[in-house]
Symmetry: C2
Subunit: 520 residues, 2 copies
């Protein structure tokens, strides 16, 4: 296990986050886990699974709400540790904590509602010809223990008690988190809050476990453990694909939900540009630089129809970038990768630098960047659509809205595509929408993808390589489906049926009866 | 392409089914496909996808119904070709045709209902604090062209126009079938019916394609073609796992829904045995031998609580097996594999033969078999749970109902588990149900798994190796989910939204609005 040590006993190695503002390690360190910990946590999760998945909807909902309450209880100790480990500002961290707790409470609502059980009843038809029909009833159950790999960029909302953990726990699955090495102290504080909730709700310890490591290796041991039945991951394309391969090569393959790589194209249509090019450019610069650009949905590519409106967009964007103060990135490694990515664009023969942000004054501050290339050059070099994680974007001029389709055909799958349009652009958008749907999980109008609402209708997913499984989302209530499987019960006596499937609907949930949704 | 040739032009190789009753090839042969055909069909499917997925619900439903009508139109030509290619009896083939057409019509109902779109609307909240909420709307769209690998044992219901094809077409996905080499003539007649429906419904040809080959190889080319976005397979464990690996190794991995291997344990509880052991034994013998035992859900393992009731069960089963006339198996290869499997059990030191069916009188008839082994022996040799495809089963005596749990823990995942119980057994079943749910896709009482109803509440799926993806089913209306992905639309003007998501609900479908199911 990895307790929140204040000292360093012999024989135990520790992980220390780096404070990116000053480049120095943060005390106290967190004890590193080893392969015995993987084995022990997987055994505990497998043992806890049956009891946990059979908890009542109400008690599981209360557990999720108790985790949220325990996280709030950690108060400033958590907020300050996040700030130290990530360089993020207090308002952002407090907002992210609110989002994380709101997400847990939303899944409590989902659990109480019971719709996720997808209860279905096809009553017997003893007189049917030529053969009688049996009584068939179906409900979803949890798939089993889930391995969660948190992201660096949302140390609360996409980490230890983030959306993957919340949706897996809501589904009735124990969770083992592989903590992100960028924020071990944050991870341990949140893990302690979850353990406190487990104690308060009188659940088995094995419902939640956490592992700490400095480099990859332990993650592979976790993903290939036969007791793990699904994997959720947010991070790099390379890291996600390695987990996909490892999980597919198991004697029993298991699903991997990896949210990986996306450059989130922004499409600027002529009427919108003509009417408000400069304003869109200023909003774009703000979106690009929010959180030092460290969002999965950061706008890394802008396709704009050429004309005076596009020049106004560029002027607005350039002003917003050149005038902005650089922000500290999450880790020295992310900052170094960002500088390398920006360097590749800056030194590319076909790329012109339109704007750079203000000079950094601290060690790991990101200097924002906006580049431009021409359409032929963009189509000729696939690497110009590689993701640069951070506040960098590439603008490509296209001759008219009809050209968007060709550029999109050339692009890989995306989390989001944003359209800036006014009424006269609608006809062109109508033509383009089928292409957009096949390329992205979310299509948005007159905004940017960087706000990801936690809601019933949200999709934070999309075709490969945005994710490894485009049938799913990692944000919003549909995320629970990733961790469920249907079971059919044929001709079971009433007393042997789960309450969700009994005649009279004792849980009062929505069910499909003979093909119709009913509450009886 | 593979037209239904009556002669053999030069340069074209043909595939001929073998009539298993006489062991002779059947004319006319069907032209074999090559890798150019894979490329051509994938290009056509990709080109047809956008138009096809955007057809109205009504026209897609009519298309499915037209396929059913066209299949019925083929009349006796189809029935007789199936009988010749499979050795199955006319009543069975006619029943399977009815099931296949009923399945297509059921998916037409699913399409018209529109619930599969999972339409969700989270209306904007412009006054929400601290930030306004955007307008979010979600619906499912088809994932793209689907490769379908039909099974040998249901030449209609799990083949060219079977459940995989019906659910993929219902989802809005073009289908390319790799025809099973055991029934090429049947496959071509059904393919022609689908093509006729495409013409009648004025759809693009690429909505459906079919490939014929003698051995594997072309299937790998199909699964690794980048235009294929999902794979459905029914067949052997080895074949399914090869497709899973091939699909995971693609630059863009795609899901494989493989329904593979299951021995469908039958659990005999003491009260049921005491009251009606012999009758259960006779029903078991019937289920075991139906369709020469060539069902995915065939009862290949019987666990019975020791006692006089079990002896009566055995007596009933033995009588039902020894008295039965052997039936012709589907192919010479399946028959040879069956004889090898039975031989492994018959010659196993720890296995005793309880009954063999009557002596075969034709070349590929299956001689049914019932074996017995003791509990320790069963637990000691994992190969005793290998599937033997055909009318063979293994009985294991257990000391009491409490022992079921240990045996189940030792078993792999299953499609079905059948319980034979009476009222006094209920307490033991209550204890066991959580174990059963984790092992099987369908749990049934006082019956056998060999009837698989096509219904809303059916699960024909289950934990590995029953399938490669336990979250899904290949039979029943939930099968459509395999070929759908959600897309979110943020702040789109009404005129740009699909009808399924517009205010006022012009399609009149069920939608989730602000977390509640509504029809408005």
């Amino acid at each position: 296990m990895a307790p929140f040590f204040m000292g360093a006993p012999s024989m135990t190695a520790f992980i220390h986050a780096i404070d990116p503002k000053i480049g120095k390690p943060i005390d106290p360190g967190i004890a590193l886990s080893d392969e015995d910990d993987v084995d022990r946590l997987c055994a505990a999760a497998a043992a806890a699974f049956r009891l946990y998945r059979n908890t009542s909807l109400e008690s599981r909902a209360v557990f999720l709400e108790t985790i949220a309450a325990e996280i709030m209880e950690t108060g400033d100790a958590l907020i300050e540790r996040v700030m130290a480990e990530t360089g993020l500002l207090r308002t952002r961290v407090e907002g992210e904590r609110a989002r994380t707790c709101g997400q847990l409470r939303l899944f409590a609502r989902v659990v109480r509602d019971g719709g996720f059980l997808d209860a279905r009843i096809d009553p017997a038809q003893p007189d049917r010809q030529p053969l009688p029909r049996v009584d068939l009833r179906l409900r979803n159950i949890g798939t089993g223990p889930v391995a969660v790999f948190g992201a660096s960029n949302f140390p609360l909302a996409f980490s230890v008690a983030g959306g993957d953990t919340a949706s897996a726990l809501a589904a009735g699955c124990p969770v083992i988190v592989k903590a992100h090495p960028a924020h071990p102290g944050t991870s341990e504080i949140v893990a302690a809050a979850i353990r406190a909730a487990i104690t308060r709700c009188d659940l088995p310890e094995g419902v939640f476990g956490i592992l700490f490591e400095k480099r990859t290796g332990l993650g592979a041991a976790l993903v290939t453990d036969p007791r793990i039945k699904a994997v959720a991951f947010t991070g790099s394309r390379q890291g996600g694909l390695a987990l996909v391969q490892a999980a597919a090569a198991r004697p029993e393959p298991v699903p991997v939900y990896a949210e990986m790589s996306s450059i989130n194209p922004v499409l600027l249509f002529p009427a919108a540009l003509a009417g408000r090019g400069a304003a869109i450019g200023r909003s774009f610069a703000t979106s690009l630089q929010t959180g030092a650009g460290q969002f999965c949905t950061n706008p890394g590519l802008v396709l704009g129809v050429d004309g005076p409106g596009l020049d106004e967009f560029i002027a607005g964007a350039v002003a917003g970038i050149e005038g902005a103060t650089p922000q500290t990135m999450l880790t020295p490694g992310i900052h170094a990768a960002y500088d390398r990515g920006v360097g590749r664009f800056a030194s590319h023969a076909g790329v012109r630098t339109l704007a750079r942000g203000g000079e950094p004054s601290g060690p790991h501050e990101a200097q924002a960047a906006l580049f431009e290339t021409d359409l032929a050059g963009f189509l000729a070099d696939g690497h110009l659509q590689d993701e640069v994680f951070g506040p960098s974007s590439l603008l490509v001029r296209v001759p008219d809205a009809g050209a968007f389709s060709d550029v999109l055909a050339h692009l890989e799958g995306q989390l989001t595509i944003a359209l800036h349009i006014d009424e006269p652009d609608h006809a062109a958008v109508t033509t383009l929408l089928p292409v957009l749907e096949e390329k992205a999980g979310r299509i948005l109008v007159n905004g940017f993808g960087t706000g990801v609402e936690v809601a019933d209708a949200m999709v934070h997913g999309g075709p490969f390589p945005a994710t490894s499984d485009s049938r799913t989302t990692s944000v919003g209530t549909l995320a629970i489906r990733r961790f469920l499987r249907p079971v059919c019960y044929q001709d079971l006596p009433q007393t042997l049926l789960a309450p969700a499937l009994r005649d009279g609907n004792p849980l009062g949930i929505s069910r499909m009866i003979d093909g119709k949704i009913a509450k009886h």
